[in-house]
C-alpha cells in the first residue's frame, strides 16, 4: 500500500504532498526533509529504491523535480516505479509538456489527477484517458 506521495524540487521545497496514512502535521515536515535528503544524495544511475524506517521509498527524478512515493514492504517496487512514470505522462498529457510551474499554479488539478489514479493507497486507474475524462468534463462545465 502506498503511504505517501511527494513532489519536491532540488531546493527542498515541497510542491505537492499527499498522505494516505494519517501523519501528524508536525511530523510531516520532518518526514519530507528526510526523504528529500535521501533523494538529493542519489546519483542518476544509482538505485532508485531507498529504505526509510520501515517503509520503502521509490523515487524518480524529472529535470529539477523529484517524485517520491513511500510504500509498505509488500508492494512491487518496479510496479510503483512504473506508476510514477504513468503519473507524469498523464500530467504531461493534460498540461501539454508539464513543468514545475504548472504544478505550482494548478495544485488542485494535480490533486484531482492523483486522486483519480491512487485512492486510499492503492492504484485505481492506470488508463490515461479514463483518468482525464472527469477532469476534462469538469473544465468544460466551468467554461460553459
Amino acid at each position: 500500500m502506498i503511504t505517501f506521495v511527494l513532489m519536491v524540487n532540488r531546493q527542498g521545497q515541497t510542491r505537492l504532498s499527499r498522505y494516505y496514512q494519517p501523519v501528524k502535521m508536525s511530523r510531516r515536515a520532518a518526514l519530507e526533509a528526510d526523504v528529500v535528503r535521501e533523494c538529493l544524495s542519489r546519483h542518476k544511475d544509482q538505485c532508485s529504491f531507498v529504505e526509510y524506517k520501515d517503509l520503502k521509498v521509490v523515487f524518480r527524478q524529472y529535470a529539477a523535480l523529484y517524485i517520491a512515493v513511500g510504500v509498505t514492504d509488500d508492494e512491487n517496487e518496479l510496479a510503483i516505479y512504473e506508476l510514477v512514470q504513468n503519473f507524469v505522462e498523464v500530467l504531461d498529457k493534460y498540461f501539454s509538456r508539464v513543468s514545475e510551474l504548472d504544478i505550482m499554479f494548478n495544485v488542485d488539478r494535480v490533486h484531482i489527477i492523483l486522486d483519480e489514479m491512487i485512492q486510499n493507497g492503492r492504484v485505481v486507474e492506470s488508463n490515461k484517458s479514463n483518468i482525464l475524462a472527469p477532469l476534462l468534463a469538469l473544465d468544460k462545465m466551468a467554461d460553459g
Binding site: C47, L78, E125
Partner: protein
Amino acid sequence: MECVRMIASPRYSEKRVGYLGAMMLLDEKQDASLLITNSIKNDLSHSSQFVQSLALCTLACIGSAEMCKDLAPEIDKLLRASNSYIKKKAALCAIHIVKKVPDLEEVFSLTARSLLSEKHHGVLHGAVVLITVLCECNPETLERFRKTVPDLVRIMKGLVTSGYSPEHDVAGISDPFLQVRILRLLRILGRNNETASDTMNDLLAQVATNTDSTKTVGNAVLYETVLTVLDIKSESGLRILAVNILGRFLLNNDRNIRYIAMTSLQKIVNSDNIAVQRHRGTIVDCLKDPDASVKRRALDLSLALVSASNIRSMMKELLVFLCSCPPDLRAEAASGIFHAAEKYAPSQRWHIDTILHVLTTAGGDVRDETVPNLILLITNASDLHCYTVHKLYRALITDISQQPLVQVASWCIGEYGDLLLREECQEMEPTEVTADTVLDALETVLQSHMSTPTTRGFALTATMKLSTRINENVDRIRSIVSIYGSCIDVELQQRAVEYNALFKKYDHMRAAVLERMPVIERNSPIHTNGDSMGDVIKEVEVDKLKLKADLLPQQPANQVCDLLDLLGDSEKSVYGGTTSIQPINAAKLAGGDLLDLLGGFEPTPLTPAPAMTLYEKNGVTLTLSCEKQSECSLAVTLRGSNSSNLDVSSFSLQAAVPKSIDLHMKAPSGDTLPARGTSQVTQLVLLNNPNKVNLKMRIRISYSSQGSSIQETVQVDSFPGFS
C-alpha cells in the same frame, strides 16, 4: 470549517475544493469530520457521478468506523450500479470499510465475486484489490475465493496474449498494473494449496517466458511472477525457471533490478540455498557497488550465504567490505562477521585473527558482548596464548583508540604477560619487548583521555596482575596503583585501594590471588556478568583469602553461584583443579547467609510422607520426604539422625538444583546429632518448578565426627510421591 461550508454548497467546484481540503487536512480523529458526514451521505445519492465519486473518495480517505457502518449499504448499492466509473471507486471505498469494520466484509464478498466478470479494467482492478484485502483479513474468505482462481487465470491469459490495445498499453505490455495485481492475488490464493497451484502453473510459465524483459515494465511483471512462483507450491521446473530469471536480473546493469533481485533471493536463500550459491560471485561483487541500497542488500545476502566450505574466501571479501563500508552498515557487518566466524571457523587461530582484524578496523562499532566473548575464546585456545598476546601487544602499541581492542589487549597482557616477556613467538618477527615497554603501554592506556572508565579498569587490573608475572619493576607497579587510589572515578579508586592493600597487608597472598585464570565455561552464571569486576572477584579463591571486609559480600554469592552451577550445563566443576574442599565455616557462612535471607526457623512436624534414605555412613543417616504443595512446588524435608555412639557436631546441609528451579532452604532445627538417635535434625527445603523440568537435587552433607570433618555429596534423581 471553511471546508465544511464549501462541501455543503451546491456548486460543484466549491464542493470539489471543499472535499479536497477535507481529505488533506482532516483525519477521522477530528470533530470537524463528523460535520461532513451528512454531506457525504447526501452526495452519495446525488445524480451526478462526479459528485458521488468525490464523496466516495473522501469517505475512503477519512471515514471513521461509525460513518462506514452507516454508509455501507449505500456503497454496496453503488457497487452494483451500472456506471463503471462509480463501481471502481466504490470498490476501493469498500476496502477502506472492510479495514475499519471487519464485520462488514460478508456484505462485500458476494458483490466482489460478481465484479470479476466485468470488462472494464478499472473495475477489474478495484475488484482484484478488494478480494486481496478480503483474503488477507479473513482466512475463511480465502477458502471461498479459491474458486475464483480459474476466472483469474482466464483474465490473465487474456491480458497476456491479447494484441495491442492502445488504451491500456504501457511500453508494449497491456495493463501491467492489472497483471501485477492479479499475480499477487494468485500468490495469496495459491499459498499452501496444491489444486490452486496446479491451475496456475501453466499460466505462470507462459507469463514468465512471453514477457518482454528489456523494459522496466516487463521486468516488473516478471518480478511479480517470480515472487508468486516461489511462494506457491509450484513444480520444480517452474522454480528453476524463476531462479534463473533472478540470476538474469542480477547480471543486469540497472541497479534497480539488481536490488530487487537480491531482495527476492534473500527470501529463498534458506530454502533453495544451492541455487543461490551459484550466484555468489555476482553478489560479492555487488558489495563493492557504490550504491548504498545495493550494498546493504548484498551484505545481508552474503552473510546468509556463508557456509563451512566458502568461509575463508567469503570472510576475506567481508573484511575488505568492512574497511570501506559506510558507517551505518558497520555495526551490522561486524556482528554478522562475528556470527559467521563463530559458526564456521575452520581453526581457532583463524577465528582469533579474524576477530582481531574486525576490532582493528571497526572496533568502535562492535557490540559490548564481543569483549567477553573474545576473552572466552582466547582462554579456550590455550596453545595460542603466546601468539595471541604478541599480536595484541603489537596492536596496542600502534593504536589505542579502539576501545574493545584495548580492553581485550590489556586483559591478555595482564594474564599472559610472562609469555610476552619470556618467550619469543616463532610465528612472528621478534621485537624488543621488555617489562618497561609493556608497563609504558599500559600506562598510556590509563592516562589517555580516549580510554573509557571500563578500559581504565581493565588496564589497572592488568598492571596489577603483571606484578606477579614479572620480577623487576614491582615498585613501579606499586606507584602506578597507588596514584589511582585518589582517582575521581569511584570504580578505579576502589580497585586501586584494594590492590594497594594487597601489596601492604596481604603480600604473601598476592601470588595466589593473581594467579592465572582457569578456562571459563561458556554458560557459567558469572560469565554473563559483562563487567570485568566480576572477573577479578572470581579469581579470588575463597579458602585462601581471609574474609576481608569489602570482598565479603561477593564471596557467599560467589559460592552459592558455584554450588548452583553444580547442576548446570556442565558436569565438572568450573573451578577445576583449583578448588579444594571448602572449610566448614566458610560453607556454613554461605549457608547462614542464605538462610538469614529467608527468615526464621519453622518447626516441621514429622509427616508420615514416604521417606527415602539418601545417605548412610558412619552411623549418620539422611532421609528425604516430600510433599506436593501446589502444581509446581514441592516441600522437601530432610532429616538427619545419628545411630552411632558418638555425637556428631557441625552438621549442615547444602542443596543445589537445576537452574530453572527455585530453591528455598529454611533454617535447620539444629546442628548436632546426638548419639544413638535420641533426636533428629530437620531441615525444610521448598522447591518451585515453574518450567516443569526434570527435578534433581544435589545435597552436600558436612559434619564432624570422631574429631574429623567429613563432607559428602549425594544426588537425588527421583522424588518419592512426586510425579
